[in-house]
Symmetry: none
Subunit: 204 residues, 2 copies
């Protein structure tokens, strides 16, 4: 039984000469989607030669063009850039320390650490009054990832982006998992949740 907390570690301190890095990332994403330069050009509205130059780091695109490229890759620009800014290191913590600090929250990892894993399934048990992650240190998943949670038993409240969503047994919710979010159990009975985090496009 292990508690997984996926934390994006931003490199705010480091220098960010990302112009060449984002080009490599764009090329990797494009090839991962099996798109040619002209395919992405049509999807994004950016010319193929421009894409080639950007991918090789010869030019720095404007925000407008970069946003169109990201949209062609079905990403927002911030998501695209975060792929390079973050180390997106997955920190796996043992349930021991986590359970002591976040009493009433038990996490059970269901998906094994297989290579090429793109979905992470975990089961959560929230005692009355317990919260996942915590408001101050919210678990944010990899950029581009999306989470689906199902309330198996009891009631829970999803707090995301300043909004609260009351969930009853049988309810499910889908949202972008790279946003700050956490679950609360404000009822008098334990709650069972099942969380599925689907990773964004990634290469090797």
């Amino acid at each position: 039984m292990a508690t997984t907390v996926t934390e994006g570690r931003s490199s705010a301190d480091g220098t960010l000469v990302q112009t060449p890095a984002v080009g490599v990332r764009i090329r990797a994403l494009r090839e991962a989607m099996d798109l040619s330069l002209r395919d992405l050009a049509q999807r994004s509205g950016v010319s193929a030669p421009m894409l080639s130059q950007v991918e090789r780091g010869e030019t720095s695109p404007t925000l407008a063009v970069a946003a169109r490229i990201a949209a062609g890759l079905e990403l927002t620009l911030s998501q695209l850039l975060r792929l390079d800014e973050d180390r997106h290191v997955v920190v796996v913590r043992k349930g021991e320390g986590r359970k002591r600090r976040r009493a009433g929250h038990r996490v059970e990892e269901l998906t094994p650490p297989l290579p090429g894993q793109r979905a992470d399934v975990s089961r959560h048990r929230l005692e009355p009054g317990a919260v996942t992650g915590g408001p101050g240190d919210p678990p944010i998943h990899e950029p581009g990832s999306r989470e689906t949670a199902v309330v198996i038993d009891g009631m829970a409240t999803l707090v995301i982006d300043g909004q609260r969503h009351e969930l009853r047994t049988g309810d499910s919710v889908t949202f972008d998992a790279d946003l700050a979010h956490h679950f609360e159990n404000n009822s008098d009975d334990p709650a069972e949740l099942l969380a599925v985090v689907a990773a964004g496009l990634r290469r090797s």
Copy 2:
């Protein structure tokens, strides 16, 4: 079905015209830090007139200068852009979702048909003696996809590649979903399953 779609400040039709928005955000951040254009110019290495034009949305900066501006505001570029990309979607499905009924097999789709969806979560109820993957169903999934199933309640048997795996309540299993497989319920009580199918990298 009662699905609730909650959106932040979406860009309406989906296309994101963020060039003017980020300018307003930059100005707000700069003024919040009590910096003049020349102050931020020195901190970021971008000329003050350029900053003025960017803040008013007259020009779209390149990624290189946008990153320098963000650094001058002590932010990464993705952090700066994220503040304006509020196309975060939260889809809440109250109660039971869209169902398909087979003989003794009820399927409930939990993930909404959102663009960019890469994982499909479904809930299955198997009556005693029932099997999944009945005649006229998509027997196997896309090549490269992987499936994780969790037995929420009852017992079930996974038959895959000529092998049988007995699963009890709380058990879970992960396997390559492009293999022929199906679930059976050989017990005397109904079984509740939750299946997660993570698609491979999409193409075109």
